[in-house]
């Protein structure tokens, strides 16, 4: 543990990542307390103060119906994080099971599962999510479904590759020779050794889920108004460029900061956990 902290804290980039992620998570969790206008997460209209550039107390300006952009960004973080966590909570177990089974059992199991994975992987991720999302109703639940559909194959791929190399390791042979069941070998012997790669990827992916979800919303396939969503904010604000720049620039920066933070942290984990072995 000491070593892990040492490595994390000795690299300024990791520290920045930690700070950024901490800020984002903190904002999302305590949005109710931080946001100067908590009611602006919903359908509030205030035509006495609409489309205003940054000023006090609307430090990021107001949108076209007079809502505080800063407050909405905080709530948008909340939605993004929920989406990211839910997507990963579903996609990771599916992908991991598929990857373990394909990588360890081999043969026809491997062929069928990996071809299935290939099918999902050969539709560019965004296109797949868009198709699912576009054909269903654009809601948060469907958004999660769409992003999950495109996400599990990556874990299947990752775990498959790790499993294939881990299966060559002596401890797997040892367990087999002792007579351990296949399930034991897969989940108790191999899986723990996939955990570092999975955790690293999950950290990076929390950022990328936010990114993809915002891309979907950008195309009009995301969370619906009045729920605050970073991608939709950029997309809608984009209509008013360059005059009402604050409508686009701040949500864009918000995406950048969150994803950047998760990426830095993911990199740090990769460094720490990668050198663990």
């Amino acid at each position: 543990m000491r070593r892990i902290f040492y490595i994390l804290l000795s690299n300024p980039l990791s520290v920045i990542g930690l700070v950024l992620v901490g800020t984002v998570v903190f904002s999302a969790v305590f949005a109710d307390f931080i946001a100067p206008f908590p009611s602006h997460r919903g359908a509030v209209v205030d035509f006495s103060n609409f489309n205003q550039p940054p000023h006090w107390p609307n430090i990021f300006g107001t949108d076209l119906v007079g809502r505080d952009v800063f407050s909405r960004i905080l709530y948008a973080y909340r939605i993004s994080l929920i989406l990211g966590v839910v997507v990963l909570a579903i996609a990771v177990p599916i992908g991991v099971t598929v990857g373990l089974a394909a990588g360890y059992l081999g043969g026809w199991t491997e062929f069928c599962l990996m071809r299935l994975t290939d099918v999902f992987l050969s539709i560019p991720p965004l296109v797949l999510a868009m198709s699912v999302m576009g054909l269903l109703e654009p809601t948060l639940t469907n958004g999660m479904l769409a992003v999950t559909t495109m996400w599990w194959p990556w874990y299947a791929r990752l775990v498959y590759n790790v499993t294939r190399s881990e299966a060559q390791e002596g401890y797997v042979l040892a367990a087999e020779i002792i007579g351990a069941s296949r399930l034991h070998v897969m989940f108790r012997e191999i899986l723990p050794n996939c955990v570092p790669s999975i955790v690293t990827k999950m950290t990076l992916d929390l950022g990328f889920v936010i990114l993809i979800a915002s891309s979907l919303s950008f195309l009009g396939l995301g969370v619906q108004a009045p729920t605050p969503d970073l991608g939709s904010m950029v997309a809608e604000g984009g209509n008013y460029l360059p005059d009402s720049w604050w409508l686009t620039v701040f949500p864009s920066l918000a995406i950048l900061i969150a994803v950047f933070g998760f990426n830095l942290l993911g990199d740090a984990f990769r460094q720490v956990l990668g050198s663990d072995q």
């Binding site: 076209l64 108004a225 460029l241 005059d243």
Partner: protein
């Protein structure tokens, strides 16, 4: 590796020199560039929206056109017309040739009507009443109606005449004698007699049109030589292009803030005053909106002045003016401008109390059309307004195609839909019949699914009566009835505002004495003037 680096370096190098290269026009002809959000439908029988209309009015001709700066119709392809009971006879000009060189005859008019009715798309419902058309001779054509229809002649504005010979030469695969009625051909090519002919059509990008040299009315030199109608440009793109002098006329769908910014940058604002309005439509078959009291409550709770504020572009120009009732000001049967609708929360609450539903239990779905960003703001406005009555609501964004599909069934139609509707011929019948007649329920115009005997009766009266005063009375009564049962919230009377560069002069959109009383006619390119610069 080195090869890659060199390629990249070369690419960058050329990129930097490129920025310095002049990209002026290659030849000295005038180009008009405008845009629309939707793809223009080239097939005139399928035309229905604004982009389609622009194409139709320039590539094709109609028997009559609206008078400029005044109500009524003036001859165009037809020299004169007369009515005899349910049959209308038109005398055609003899000097008109299609762009193909084929002469335009009565036979073409008959073909155009048959085709329109056979395809059953676009605005063909305007001709549902027409039993048949007959060509008495080369230049005489008679339309026979099934029943009296007062605005029939006005509906001729929506019957573009198609070059029969050319279409017959280009029939595609299909069943029956007429195969596909030339749909494949006409979706990519023009077959009209209009002042402009289609030279290229890319649904993703643009339709390019060029002056037709031997138009029967002639085309002034000042009119643009080439017109590029671009599709689907982002508002920010249009805003920048106009500011940089690379675009001429924006679509009317630019948000007011963008129009404002452009006008501050020195762009001119063009207007097309309305034959239509912004309607907030309520599904009268779904609880709680099946109770008129509840609908009235919503109508009273709607903040009309906030809506007007939202659409203001400058102090003088707005995308709309306050509504006075179901019929826009200036149209037959409309209330005077002084009768502005306004919000009254107390009355709204009274209506709410009279409503048989308990508001707390109700959740209302407010939809908005994805292609029109402004509607989202109205959705938010309504959500806030209705919340003051204690009504919960959720906002739903709907792409146009999905909306049009869902309204076909009353149970799928959202509680609240927002629509911009206009009279396609300028006559109130073409505005109101499609929206409120019980027989017309379930089209995109009628998400109210209204079924009201009084309304039906008054609509019929307005339709069959040929006497102007009697029609006016019928439409006034209809207006009152529609206010009383409130199938819709009448948001505001609509006016289209376009931002335009100063390279172009469009009298029909800037000079009220030259204005046509019909949406889209203002974009008659031959009447525009390009400035040299």
């Amino acid at each position: 590796m080195n090869v890659l680096a060199k390629t990249a370096a070369a690419a960058l190098l050329s990129a930097s020199t490129l920025a310095l290269m002049p990209t002026g026009p290659a030849f000295a002809e005038t180009v008009l560039r405008l845009d629309e959000v939707a793809v223009g439908e080239l097939d005139p029988a399928k035309a229905s929206d604004y982009a389609d209309s622009i194409l139709m009015f320039n590539v094709y001709d109609t028997l009559v056109v609206p008078a400029q700066g005044a109500p009524g119709l003036v001859p165009h392809l037809a020299e004169s017309w007369s009515a005899d009971g349910n049959s209308h006879t038109f005398k055609l000009r003899k000097d008109v040739k299609f762009q193909s060189g084929n002469p335009l005859t009565a036979e073409d008019v008959v073909f155009s009507l048959d085709r329109m009715k056979a395809l059953g798309a676009g605005l063909s419902y305007l001709f549902a009443n027409v039993d048949r058309a007959e060509a008495a001779d080369e230049n005489t054509v008679t339309f026979v109606l099934k029943e009296p229809y007062a605005p029939f002649v006005a509906s001729m504005l929506r019957l573009p005449i198609v070059d029969k010979k050319l279409v017959m030469e280009n029939l595609g695969d299909g069943d029956g004698d007429m195969k596909d009625w030339g749909q494949a051909f006409l979706s990519a090519n023009g077959a009209g007699s209009g002042a402009y002919k289609v030279t290229a059509h890319n649904p993703q990008q643009e339709t390019v049109m060029a002056k037709s040299a031997d138009y029967f009315l002639g085309v002034p030199d000042a009119a643009p030589d080439t017109v590029r109608l671009r599709y689907g440009l982002e508002p920010a793109t249009v805003r920048t292009l106009i500011a940089q002098g690379e675009h001429d006329i924006s679509s009317q769908w630019l948000p007011p803030e963008v129009l404002k910014a452009l006008s501050q940058d020195g762009a001119q604002l063009l207007t097309e005053s309305g034959t239509g309005g912004f309607y907030v439509k309520m599904n009268t078959t779904k609880a709680p909106l099946d109770d008129p009291e509840c609908r009235l409550a919503l109508a009273k709770a709607f903040d009309y002045s906030a809506a007007i504020k939202m659409i203001a572009v400058t102090d003088e120009i707005s995308q709309g003016s306050p509504a006075t009732g179901a019929i826009p000001v200036g149209m037959l049967g409309a209330n005077p401008p002084s009768n502005e609708l306004s919000r009254n929360l107390d009355e709204a609450k009274k209506h709410m109390d009279a409503c048989r539903y308990n508001v707390g239990d109700q959740n209302i779905e407010i939809s908005w059309i994805a292609e029109v960003p402004l509607e989202e703001r109205f959705a938010l406005l309504m959500q806030a307004n209705f919340a003051e009555l204690g009504i919960q609501s959720e906002i739903k964004k709907m792409p146009w195609a999905l909306f049009a599909e869902q309204v076909s069934k009353a149970e799928n139609t959202p509680h609240i839909s927002q629509l911009f509707v206009n009279a396609v011929t300028g006559d109130p019948d073409t505005l109101l019949y499609g929206m409120y007649d019980s027989k017309a329920a379930g089209t995109w115009q009628s998400p109210e699914h209204l079924n009201d005997a009084d309304v039906d009766k008054l609509l019929e009266e307005g339709r069959v009566n040929s006497d102007e005063a009697a029609r006016s009375k019928a439409y006034h009564e209809l207006n009152n009835r529609l206010m009383a049962i409130a199938p819709s919230i009448y948001g505001y009377d609509r006016q289209s505002v376009f931002a335009a560069s100063n390279r172009v002069k469009v009298p029909a959109l800037s000079d009220p004495s030259k204005a046509f009383g019909l949406d889209g006619m203002g974009f008659t390119f031959r009447l525009m003037e390009m400035q040299d610069n």
